[in-house]
Every structure is written in C-alpha cells, then in structure tokens.
Assembly symmetry: C2
Homo-oligomer: 548 residues x 2
C-alpha cells in the first residue's frame, strides 16, 4: 500500500497505485536495481557482510509471527532487507566460495529473469503460458537430444505431441528423481487383466495382484538422499532403497549389485529400478553406467541415472565419454541450476521413451483436457513458473561449445587443485577429481609420518582428532567470510573405511583463479593453528609416536 | 559466450565476460529492462501480440532439438524472445483477462525479484541460504498465525525450532497438497511396536501390520485434481480418493460424507484424511469447515483444508468468517501466487501442530544434519529458491489491511458482476460468487423462456447446443485478444445436474473496472451471433418451441 514520498493510505485508489506506479529510478529500490544491473558481483560484495552473525542473532530480526497491521514504505522495507537479509545471505557467486554447487550467473540472465517474472506465466497449461509451452517442450527436446541423440524425425514426431512427453521441468533434482521413480513404479505395477494398475488401485492391491513380497530400488551407497525421500513418498519405504557398496573411487560395485539382485529375487522381492549416479554429491564420481544398463536390461528394471550434477558434462565433447552408457537410461535427472548456470529452481527429468510418462498422466475437467498439450498432465507439480525460458536463452547465448569451455575449465581446475594439494606436505587429497569435485584434509606432514607407524589405538585417536580439526577449520573459515569450502564425511578405503571428515570443493565458478585456490590452502593452514584443542592434541600425539 | 558488439569467441577469457560484463543500459536488453521498470503493463501491452497465433504455428519457432553449436549475441536472442515468445505469451496482468487465478503484480516485486535471483540462495539448507532460512520460517509463522492465531509464546517456542516445522514453502498448491497427505499417511501408519512405520517399511507392510483392507481420503467432488495426483504418487491409488456429493452451492454434503465414512469402515477401509475445500477451483465455494472438523475429530482423521485459492480471504476481517473452522485443520494449503499477489511458484502447506512434519523428516550426511535448522529436512522438494522473500516483502509493504482491501474489493466486484449478469436478459448466472469467482453463460432471453416449456428431448437438444455456443464464444473471445474468460463444465442442480459448459471469471485483478466487465458481456453477445452452427440452431429450436 505504501509508495515512497506519499502517505500510506487505505483506499481503492491506493490499491491501484501499488499495481501501476513505477519505481522512481532514484528511489532506494531504483538505485539498487541499477547497481545490480551494472555489476552484480560488486553489489553483492558491497552488501553482503564479510563476517557472519550467529544464526540465533539473525533470527531476532525475523522473530514476529504477526502480519503487520501497518504498511511499510517500499524504501524503508528495502533498507531493512538490505541490512538484515541481503547482508546476511550467502555470496554464492563469489569466486572464493568453492563449497557449493551454486555458482555465478551469466549477466544476461538478470534482465531476462525480470521479463520472466513480469510475464508471470503458469506452465501448467497452454491457456496460461501459450508460447512458453512449446518453448519448454523444445528445451526438454534439446536435453533429450544431448543425452539420447535421436534423429530429427524422432523429435519432429514427439517433441510437441499432445499425448507424449520427453520429460518434465521441475523445481529441482529431488522432484525429478521422485518423478522418475514414480514412473518406474507405475510401469512396474501397471494394469494387468482385471487389475487397473497401481496409479488407480494403490500399492497394497498392486502387491497382492503381482504377488511380490516387497519392492526394491538399487543404488550405490553414495546415492543422493532424495532417493530415500522418493522411496518414502512413493510408499515403497526407505528400507526398499537398497544401498550397494562402492569401490575406492566411490563407484558402485557391480559384483555386489549382482549378488544383491540375486538375493532379492530369492526372497520374492521385485527390484523395479536401478539408479546410476553420474556425479556423486560428495565426490563427483560416476558409476559404470554401461554395466548398469546391461544389468538393468537383463533384470527388466527401469534404469534411472541421477545426473543432477554431472549431466552437464555431456556438453563437453572432450569429457562426455565419462558418462558413457547414459544413453541407455530410461530416465535421467539433470539440474540446470547447477552446471548449466541458470538460477535456482530449474530441474528436469528426461525420459528416453516418449510414452514412459503416460504412467503418470492426469486429466481434469477445466484443465489438462485429454488431447491438450498442457504440460501439467505429465508433471508432479501443478502451477509452475517459466524458468525454462532462462535455460533456453542460456543454451542459445552460451551454446554447446561455450558450455564445453565451462565444463572443461572446471574439470581441469579441479585437477590442478588436486595436484597442488598432493604436492603440499601438510595436506592430503582424499578423493581424486573425476568431475570438478574433490575432497581433502589438512594433515601436518609429521602427522602423516606418525600415522604410518602408529598402533591401532594411536591411529584411532589421531584420526578422531583430525576429524575435529577439519571441522574446526571449515567452520572458522566460513565464519571469517573470505572464502568457503564445505565439509562432509566419507569412508575412504585408504583409511580402512574410517568415517573421515573432509573438506569438499566444487570448482564450477569460472571466476575462481589458481591464486584463490592457493589462498584457500594458506588460510586453512593458518586457521589450524588457532585450534586450541585438536591441533595441540594432534601435535603432542604425533611427537609421542615419532619419538619412539 | 556472445557479448554485444564483440566477436563471439571461445576462450577462457570470453567465459569470464559472460559472468562479469554488465549489460549496457542502451543495449536491447538494457532498454527492455528500463521499459519494464517504468511501466510493466505498458511493456506487456506493447509487446504481447493482440491476436494469437495457432499453437501449431508457434511450435514452428520452437521446433529444433539441436543445442546450438554457435553462440547467439545477447541482443539477437533478446529480439527473438520478444518476437516469438513474449509476443505469444499470455497477458496475465491485463485487467480484461479475468479468467485466470494469476493477476497483476505489485510494482515493487519486480526489482525485489531481481535481488532474489541475483542472490541465488538455495533454501534447502542454512549453509546456502543463511538469513533466508529464518525469513522463510517467519513467513510460515505469519501464515500459521493468520490461520491458527496461537499466542506469542507459541511462536517464540516453535517458529525457529530446529526439530519442528510450522509448514513448508513449495512451488505450488499441488506440492503442498501432496506434502499434507504425505504427512497424514505417515502419521496414520506410524511406527507401532515392531513395525517401524510406513516411511521406513512401505505401504504394503504397513497395511498388513495395521490389518486394513484399504485406505481412503475423502473430499468433495469439487476437490482439486492435484488430490488425485497425490493419491497416485503416495501409493494410495486414485480410487481411494473418495468423492463426496455436493449441494447446489458446490459444498460437500455432510450426510453423504457421514454415510460414506460408515460404509468405508464396514468394509475395513481406513479413512485417514478428510479434505475440506476453501475456494473450489471452478466456482470459489467453501465447504462447511466447522462441520468437517467435527467429523474428522470424531473419526480420528487428519483434517486438511485446501485453501490454495481461498486462504488469502483470512486477511479480510470482514470476510474471514467464510472460512470458519479452518483453525481446526491439521494442515492447510495456501498459494501466495494467487490472492497474495506474488509471482508464480509460491505455495505453502501450514501445519497446526509443529510436530506433524516429523513424520516426513529426512536427514543426510553432508546436509540436513540432525539438529540443524535446514529447511530441507521437512520439505518434499530439495533445492529451492528464495521466493519466501517476495511474500515477506508483500506482507510488510501491503500489510494486512492492504490485503483486506484487495480481498474485499474482489469479492464485491464479483457480486456487482453477478448482479449485472442477473439483470441482463440474455445471460444466466450459473453459480453465485461466494469469493470472487462466478460462472455464467449466454442464453438469449427467448431461449430461456423456451427452456421452461420444452419437452425433455427439446431441452436436451437446446442444452447441448448452448454448451457448443458457450465454447465457441469463449474460444473466439480468447483468440481476438481483447479480453479473456475461462470456461469449465459443471453440473448445476438447477439443470438436473446436466453437464453444463460455462464461462468462469476470477475477479482478483484490482485494475479490472466495472466498465471492463460490461464490455466483456457486450463482446460475448456480439460473438454469439458469429456462430454459424450453434446459434442458428438454438434460435430455430427456440422459435419452434415458443410457437407451439
């Protein structure tokens, strides 16, 4: 209701104003817009506070559950947002923030986003999205082509077909994975004789009809947690997501997969889907997709590839072979807000077969009428925004060779960083980069020597303290606000599967330089010394071991 | 890779440019941004083509599945988007487009959206969203307060509690409804003795453990189609969504609900959720929520209210009593991109009890650690954008009394339009507005008289032709591009439940004037005459009936 320089009032006339009065270019909001347009990075650098406040402090600014009874002026509220929200947000596009899968955004996406939001289309149906519907179908076709490279005749026939779907655009990889397994479940328990299918009759009747004692989805123990969520949502149960052991490179063990399949069948459990991971969240490794495809085929399982992170690698002619076998998947998850560099909220699931999604087709009276091309008849979500436009623009403006440059650059930067870590006496590379992810930790050189000769008890003690130290360094580095790496826990073969806390870096930001990487290591080395508990403990133990 | 006025090249340097070079203010994109900032409506009015192209024509512009091998210049691609996409999109904020639930956006949301997108936070966890997490929790608290009005101590205790959740922000009402029924299902089939709950063991084991023959969710036959989708996704099966008859005002029949519950229990079917509709999609009617709450309590059912459309009415002190009983719901769906006037992609589910969502809690190693305040541990979606910021700003800038004005204005405009339709000899009001939705159709005065004395056969023929005519008028009106009403089919008591095609209008746009409404009717009256089949047929039959 409030407009700058005017008394806020409550009348029908004032209603009209908030929908029609433009923002003056020299108002607070107008100035901010200009700043963002001119240099997003500088805007964020200036407005995001270097030192973060503790969360409990931030919460104080967001503590009232009352909906205001008095309107705020736009300028006052904008000042509040800058001071309390923007200042305490995460500078996801900073070149020294190498712990997230969210990177910098190409500059042209900022004004295009504004067009998208201003148009405010709803992609659930043609009636509220018109040209956005064919655009989204084309984007799904392009991604389908990237993965499955069918011929032109295929896309001419299916891309805009009312009763078919090459995939679904959605908010992110989680919904994409749920959608893929939803399709897989419904196809595995499809109509059969008198039985009208799981979609219609539900899982309980489906299981009784098919006579299975249980269902199973198989995925490596490095599978994304969203798969467990999917198993819960879909009524399969988390227990039925069967984790398969991985090798030293975080890739699924084929032998273990085979013996698990055998044992499931012995117990009358139906494995209906095998999931391959193309870019594990923690280490960026890729399962042997070709072998998984063979096994899925042999066992009549839906083969889904979770390439939320790694899928963009297909843009690189140099590295796409890393994902060899993905073209045999029945469905693939890929996130455009990761390595395709569009803003948050752009996931996709792509189906090899244009008829797959019929298993989840829905219609209604006023919408999604049979024979319509409404996208909503094959998606889990209903109303959705026109995010596909931003991916469409990026695919055209950056083009495949541009994406290839980005991907190659990231992978090669990760290799460079891995070499630096390897060469550094006080750091230990824990997982080699296959894509642009790697993990490592700080282990003083003397401690590395001590570990080699320590008794099991000493070793256990050292490893525990090293975990504490890694955690300490990571937190302190984040809080100091200059740079950011994330942390996770993995169980490397090298340390007999001991649960090890590690730094995790994702080198997807094209603005990250070698110097920044060097500085991250230097900062971590200095921060280690600030630890008043774990560092002295490690050094004392190291000395004790080495002195014997 | 392309930057205006520069040769597109493929080098690491060019990579950097697309992430750092700002848009020149007098470039194509720069000019568009300025236009949008200065007057969004005028921009849309200028760039959206008045006459729409047939979809098959539009598809030709979006027909290649090839990812370009050559970069486009930003200016060229922007021109393409303006010409082929924007021109053929839907002017959702036009005051004469009164057929959608998407309305005009307050002007201040355009620049704020740009900040949101530039920050590119990921709300799945604190680490990638920081202050956005408490902000979203506060927004959920505010909506909780709007619905359930607990006291300050309640919100102090729960709003920012790590292990609790007052709701979930999501892409829209569909995900909100799925989330609500997911919680309801998991709580109905919760861990019990040796049984570890449906989330862990799945639906098949759960049903065997509890000894039910089936499950059921009860909702009026006017329930949104997303509930059927939810029943499919959740493994309950669409059959188990049991539709209950409605009265002449599209409200659920309580007696029918009671007898259905009785009969389900006779057949050992567990009704675990009752859904009340607060704002039916087609007619905007509200179920008797108080009575539904009583029944849900008596039968130990989860009581969910789908207030995706009508929830915003709670902002109006004058009309909030229409939703009386909603405060007894276990969960409520509400869409902010509808009557809370924020851009597409902002749904919410709110839980009365802060512990409800524990039934869908998920954790992982690198994220959503136990005890963390990461929002992702209680949401169906994973990575999500910071849309909550836009709702937060609107709640502060518009404030509750501002929203009340918008809501009251809409409801009263619908009543005015209903009166106009009633007073018009050639139109028939089919459903009275309870909120700001109504349905009607064009029936020439003479035909109305003929219908009253027609034989059953004549009546059937007339009604069928009237359906055709309504469809003809609606399509023609949409295509001519001046104004838009939607259409649906309902079965009014008045016409013995005959499936009747009707115009549907949603009067949520504050810029829609009485004159525009008058013009919509005049245009429809003229368009009727253009029908070469149904109109002459109706007139001939009318004459025949009246002449006897």
């Amino acid at each position: 209701m409030a407009v700058d320089n005017r008394k806020a009032d409550a009348s029908v006339d004032s209603l009209h104003r908030i929908f029609t009065v433009p923002e003056a270019p020299n108002s607070t909001l107008g100035r901010i817009e200009k700043e963002i347009s001119e240099n997003l990075n500088a805007f964020l650098q200036t407005h995001i506070a270097a030192r973060e406040k503790p969360l409990t402090e931030i919460e104080k600014d967001f503590s009232s559950a009352d909906i205001p009874e008095n309107p705020s002026f736009v300028s006052d509220h904008t000042a509040f947002l800058l001071d309390k929200l923007v200042a305490q947000s995460v500078h996801t596009s900073a070149p020294s923030f190498i712990g997230h899968m969210t990177s910098a955004l190409p500059y042209f996406l900022m004004p295009l986003s504004k067009i998208m939001i201003g148009l405010n289309q709803n992609l659930v149906k043609i009636e509220t999205s018109k040209a956005f519907t064919p655009l989204e179908r084309q984007v799904l076709g392009m991604l389908h082509n990237l993965i499955f490279h069918e011929d032109n005749a295929f896309y001419d026939q299916w891309m805009h077909s009312a009763d078919h779907s090459l995939g679904a655009f959605c908010s992110g990889g989680t919904v994409a994975n749920i959608t893929a397994l939803w399709v897989a479940r419904n196809n595995a328990l499809k109509p059969d004789g008198e039985f009208r299918g799981v979609a219609q009759e539900g899982l309980f009747r489906a299981m009784k009809h098919y006579g299975y004692d249980d269902l199973a989805v198989l995925v490596s123990e490095r599978g994304h947690y969203s798969l467990k969520k999917a198993a819960d949502v879909l009524g399969i149960g988390r227990d039925c997501l069967v984790p398969i052991k991985t090798d030293g490179n975080n890739r699924v063990c084929i032998d273990d997969l085979k013996s698990t399949l055998f044992s499931l069948k012995e117990r009358n459990i139906k494995p209906f889907a095998i999931v391959g991971v193309a870019g594990t969240t923690e280490t960026g490794n890729i399962d042997p997709l070709e072998e998984l495809a063979d096994i899925a085929e042999e066992h009549d399982c839906h083969f889904h590839v979770d390439a939320a992170w790694g899928g963009a690698t297909l843009m690189s002619n140099k590295y796409r072979t890393l994902l060899k076998g993905i073209e045999r998947a029945d469905s693939v998850t890929i996130d455009a807000h990761k390595q395709l560099y569009v803003p948050m909220g752009a996931g996709m699931v792509i189906f090899k077969n244009p008829t797959s999604a019929a298993a989840i087709e829905h219609h209604a009276e006023y919408i999604l009428r049979e024979g319509s091309k409404d996208l909503g008849s094959h998606t889990l979500e209903g109303s959705r925004s026109g995010m596909a436009m931003l991916l469409f623009a990026s695919l055209n403006i950056i083009s495949r060779p541009g994406y290839e440059l980005l991907i190659n650059n990231s992978i090669e930067k990760a290799r460079y960083f891995a070499e630096r870590i390897d060469a550094h006496p006080d750091f230990e590379l824990v997982s080699e980069p296959e894509l642009c992810l790697l993990t490592y930790r700080y282990v003083p050189e003397a401690t590395q020597r001590a570990l080699a000769i320590a008794t099991p008890e000493q070793k256990a003690e050292l490893l525990a303290s090293l975990n504490d130290l890694t955690q300490f360094i990571q937190k302190r580095q984040r809080e100091s606000g200059k740079s950011f790496v994330s942390r996770t826990r993995i169980n490397p073969e090298k340390w007999d599967r001991y649960l090890t806390t590690v730094f995790r870096v994702v080198l997807a930001n094209p603005l990250t330089t070698n110097q920044i990487l060097q500085d991250v290591l230097s900062e971590q080395q200095l921060l280690a010394l600030q630890s008043e508990i774990s560092y002295p403990k490690i050094m004392a133990l190291t000395e004790e071991i080495l002195s014997h």
